[in-house]
């Protein structure tokens, strides 16, 4: 008989780590005793991309790692050895993770790591290493990312990749946003699902500072499940559509729309500037609000349609910058013309020395002759031909209300602003559909709940309109407050000019932003 030395009990040192001294009744590693399971969670955080990585080895591979941990081979794993192993393993894992941002390979750097040995079966421990890596993401522009976990490629096990929207912004991803295994702590074993086998993800992010006006977009192919990135968008996918649920959802949608109106965008600045500078009435404000809303709703519907039927040619987020550009140009044009008119008027005022109150003058000057040659207006219903636009310095300014060729000073016939100009403003303000609404639209179609989705968008727009109108009315009354102030200060004559300037500047900003997004400008 061959006499053998007792094999070195490599299992003995683990006694120090095992929580139960007796043969464990802990359930076996649920996926099998020789799996190596991997989990990655990617999320944009500020200006970085964070990867939370978990490695879970079942009893047998954990056992096979022991010689690598117990360096000095004395049968005991002390803190120093653990530390060293954790460091080197984390580094090895890091090198197995491949991240490419905009096609360029990007290094991940280790931020933190944590090694533990949870109890497994038969007194054998499992091995669990959790590490956090980060990579810096170029700010501002949209970044496309490709991630692949190449660690332990030939080993059986659960392989999960989750991409989540974090405090930074996530655009779209082909990996799920929710994890199934709770960082490899529990493995679902339902009959109709196989153990996960995902090692890659492709997604796009736009990292930005929290205050930026970045938008949350989701590109949804027909039939795909909508990712719930905000509460409004999640309304469309409520499980059961009973009447109370529908009514409640509509109310909620209106509420979100109202809230949304308070966030930056939709040309509120521009609207405000215009109303203040043009002495609009509540009715004007109401109309403006409606115009914005109608355009917005229409825009969502149309964009939704466009996305669906032209989705192989056009992606919404490709459209967005162009829409923004268009809207910006409209506003710039309007602002420029207003500025020109009011400036000219102002200069002429000085010359004419009318006795009308300053604000009336201001109103007169800012007569909203929205004959800007912007594309929205075709033809002039009050009979002006283009050639007659330019008023010679000698002619006095007058207002051309829609009703006719009134030459009364502003305020006298109660219509210092033209509906046309309001419409133009309203349209330009609503031209850029709110992404949430678009998400709702597309999601509704995907889920087959088209009518419900349309109603939600409508409700949203009503809420939006409500707030805009209220704001507008508020501004109008704020503007009319000035009326009561007997002011002859020349500074107030500058208000309409200022407002036109603001409009112009705002338009320029929007244009510039959109230009950057269309990629026509070189990235900064």
């Amino acid at each position: 008989m061959i006499v053998r030395h007792a094999p070195r009990r490599l299992l003995a040192p683990l006694a120090a780590l095992v929580l139960l001294a007796l043969p464990s009744v802990v359930a076996a590693h649920p996926l099998g005793n020789f799996t190596i399971n991997r989990y990655s969670r990617l999320e944009p955080v500020g200006d970085a991309l964070r990867v939370t990585y978990v490695l879970d080895m079942a009893e047998i591979p954990a056992f096979q790692e022991q010689p690598l941990i117990d360096r000095d081979g004395n049968g005991v794993i002390d803190a120093a050895e653990q530390e060293q192993y954790a460091a080197s393993k984390a580094e090895e894992l890091r090198r197995g993770l491949h991240l490419a941002l905009n096609g360029a390979p990007t290094e991940l750097r280790l931020v933190s790591r944590e090694l533990s040995f949870p109890p497994g079966q038969a007194g054998l421990p499992l091995l669990r290493l959790r590490a956090i890596f980060e990579a810096r993401v170029p700010a501002g522009a949209v970044v496309s990312a490709d991630y692949e976990d190449r660690n332990y490629a030939n080993r059986i096990g659960w392989k999960e990749v989750v991409v989540r929207a974090g405090p930074g912004i996530l655009l779209d991803s082909d990996a799920p946003a929710t994890d199934q295994s709770d960082e490899l702590r529990s493995y679902p074993a339902d009959l109709l699902s196989s153990p996960l086998d995902r090692t890659r993800a492709h997604f796009r992010i736009q990292a930005g500072s929290p205050g930026s006006a970045s938008r949350l977009l989701t590109s949804v192919a027909p039939g795909a499940i909508v990712r719930q990135t905000d509460a409004f968008a999640s309304l469309v996918s409520t499980s059961s559509l009973t009447l109370p649920v529908i009514l409640f959802s509509l109310l909620a949608a209106a509420f979100w729309g109202a809230l949304h109106a308070l966030t930056p965008g939709h040309g509120k600045t521009i609207v405000a500037a215009y109303l203040v500078g043009s002495r609009g009435t509540a009715r004007h404000a109401a109309f403006l609000g409606l115009a914005v809303t109608a355009t917005h709703t229409l825009g969502v519907y149309l964009l939704g349609l466009l996305t669906l039927y032209a989705s192989q040619y056009v992606l919404p987020e490709q459209l967005y910058p162009w829409l923004g550009l268009l809207s910006g140009l409209v506003v710039v044009a309007m602002g420029a013309i207003l500025l020109q008119r009011r400036a000219r008027g102002l200069l002429r005022r000085r010359a004419v020395r009318s006795s009308l109150p300053a604000l009336a003058l201001a109103g007169m000057v800012g007569h909203g002759h929205a004959h800007a040659h912007e594309p929205h207006h075709h033809g002039h219903t009050h009979g002006h031909t283009r050639g007659e636009h330019d008023h010679d310095p000698g002619e006095h300014e007058h207002d051309h209300g829609p009703g006719g060729h009134s030459h009364l000073p502003p305020g006298a016939d109660g219509a210092p602003v033209t509906w046309r100009s309001l419409l133009a403003l309203g349209i330009s303000g609503g031209l850029l559909p709110c992404p949430s609404a678009l998400v709702v639209m597309l999601g509704a179609i995907a889920l087959g709940r088209v009518a419900f989705g349309l109603l939600l968008v409508l409700a949203f727009s009503v809420g939006l309109a409500g707030v805009l109108i209220a704001l507008g009315v508020l501004l109008v009354y704020a503007g009319s407050l000035f009326k009561r102030v007997p002011v002859e200060r020349p500074i107030f004559r500058l208000v309409p000019l200022g407002s036109a300037a603001v409009i112009l500047v705002a338009g320029l900003v929007v244009t510039a932003q959109s230009l950057a997004q269309t990629g026509l400008l070189p990235p900064t």
Partner: protein, 457 residues
């Protein structure tokens, strides 16, 4: 009214809005955009790879499992899914699919207790778990319902074989191959022939089995490996190597084929190549048989530390099996005995095994355990049971030879050891030289031992 204009504009906007609404609604209703999920045309795709089948079946079941008008199809799809899971477990070695397979079969049975395919599936699962009595029970239940289903007969035949009911197994296999001669039945014919000692006929049957297998499939590769093993066990290293390589051609990196090639290299004395191949074979899935073999090859190269690592790994696997109440692998039992580990416990295990499943293999392990524990008399009794079918296997003869030697039966011992080396001179890296030495000591003909070794046939 002076506001007519804006009213007009407002009306325009409203009109456009409504039109768009109408258009959108009509479009979606008519074209059924986004309705894909509701189409009745979606059915599981049973072509293609196991993965595709699984994905297709899962998707179909998720959609239709609660549809009252399709319950018959749901039952069939569920059983198909269970079978696909079993196949996936086979192909990938991933045991996570076993509980799912079980759940599928149980679900189908709950819907129809006479679903013979579900019963057969549970039988196949029991076989994988070494629960042979239970497998036989499931199999017989299914057979009562569908006596001419070849899958059912396969389960029954396998269970009968493992339980030592060789005559019944032969009858079942005959029925199976009469009903449907194909890879599955031919492979079982081959094994039955092998157990009864008809080696050339076993090789012929396995060759036909491999020929009958669809190319590129795991089952075909498996069969080629079995053919390789048959060649190896009869000392034909060249043919064995070719069979293993052909298996690799069917399924690249098929671990059983890699292990087979490793064994051939080991038999030729190319230990480094053998180590490489065994390591590759065990990299993803730690099959005890191959880990033991790797350890033995390390031993042969005097790399004791690495050998110990492998043996320690086997210990670990053994503990896990024990903790799960799974019947010990006979390979692991032999391992314990061969390496003088826990000899009394191994004997106890062997007794239990032999009682539970009196197959000739279990009898052989019992005989060896008795021998190792010093009871050569009882060992010989068990050995004669192990040899009762007339099986021609080098390891069996080796055990028999040493046992006879222990009892002082020189002629018997010599005869057995001669047969051992005639059959397969490289039958074991651990014991081949021991067999030669013992034979020499017994005055056996060394001419028989000159075959192959260095000059592989």
């Amino acid at each position: 009214m002076p506001l007519r204009r804006h009213q007009q504009v407002g009306l325009c906007v409203a009109a456009v809005l409504l039109t768009a609404f109408a258009v959108l609604v009509t479009q979606t209703l008519v074209l059924g955009v986004g309705r894909g999920a509701a189409d009745i045309g979606q059915v599981p795709d049973l072509r293609g790879s196991t993965d595709k089948q699984i994905a297709s079946l899962q998707a179909w079941l998720r959609q239709y499992e609660h549809d009252p008008s399709r319950q018959r199809e749901v039952a069939r799809a569920t059983v198909d899914l269970g079978s696909a899971y079993l196949q996936k477990a086979r192909e990938s070695g991933d045991p996570a699919y076993y509980p799912r397979a079980e759940a599928a079969f149980q679900q189908a049975l709950a819907a129809d207790p006479n679903d013979f395919r579900a019963l057969a599936g549970l039988g196949a699962l029991a076989l994988s778990r070494h629960q042979f009595q239970q497998a036989l029970s499931f199999g017989e239940q299914a057979r009562a319902i569908a006596p001419e289903s070849v899958a059912v007969l396969g389960v029954v035949a396998d269970a009968q074989t493992e339980l030592g009911q060789y005559d019944a197994a032969a009858a079942t296999i005959q029925q199976m191959v009469d009903l449907r001669p194909d890879l599955a039945s031919y492979a079982r014919v081959s094994y039955a022939r092998e157990l009864h000692g008809y080696l050339p006929e076993a090789i012929e049957a396995m060759r036909r089995a491999a020929e009958a297998g669809p190319p590129g499939q795991e089952g075909t590769a498996w069969t080629r490996v079995q053919l390789g093993n048959l060649y190896f066990n009869t000392g034909n290293l060249t043919a064995a190597q070719e069979a293993y390589q052909q298996a690799l051609h069917e399924v690249p990196d098929y671990l059983h084929a890699l292990a087979g090639l490793a064994r051939v290299e080991g038999a030729r004395g190319h230990y480094q190549a053998a180590i490489e191949l065994y390591r590759k074979a065990t990299a993803a899935i730690p099959i005890p048989e191959y880990i033991i073999a790797l350890g033995d090859v390390y031993q042969a190269t005097e790399a004791h530390e690495q050998a110990e690592q492998q043996y320690a790994l086997v210990d670990t696997i053994e503990r896990l099996y024990a903790a799960n109440g799974v019947d010990l692998d006979l390979e692991i039992a032999l391992f314990d005995l061969d390496h003088d580990r826990r000899l009394p416990q191994a004997l106890e295990q062997a007794r239990m095994q032999a009682q539970r499943r009196p197959s000739i293999k279990a009898q052989d392990v019992l005989a060896w355990a008795l021998y190792k524990n010093g009871d050569c008399q009882a060992a010989q009794q068990a050995m004669s049971q192990a040899l009762r079918l007339g099986t021609k296997d080098a390891l069996l003869f080796f055990h028999a030879g040493l046992i006879a030697d222990c009892l002082g039966q020189r002629d018997q011992a010599r005869s057995y050891l001669e047969q051992t080396l005639q059959l397969n001179p490289a039958f074991s890296p651990l014991y081949a030289s021991r067999a030669r030495e013992t034979l020499a000591r017994l005055g056996g003909s060394s001419a028989a031992t000159n075959r192959s070794l260095g000059g592989a046939s």
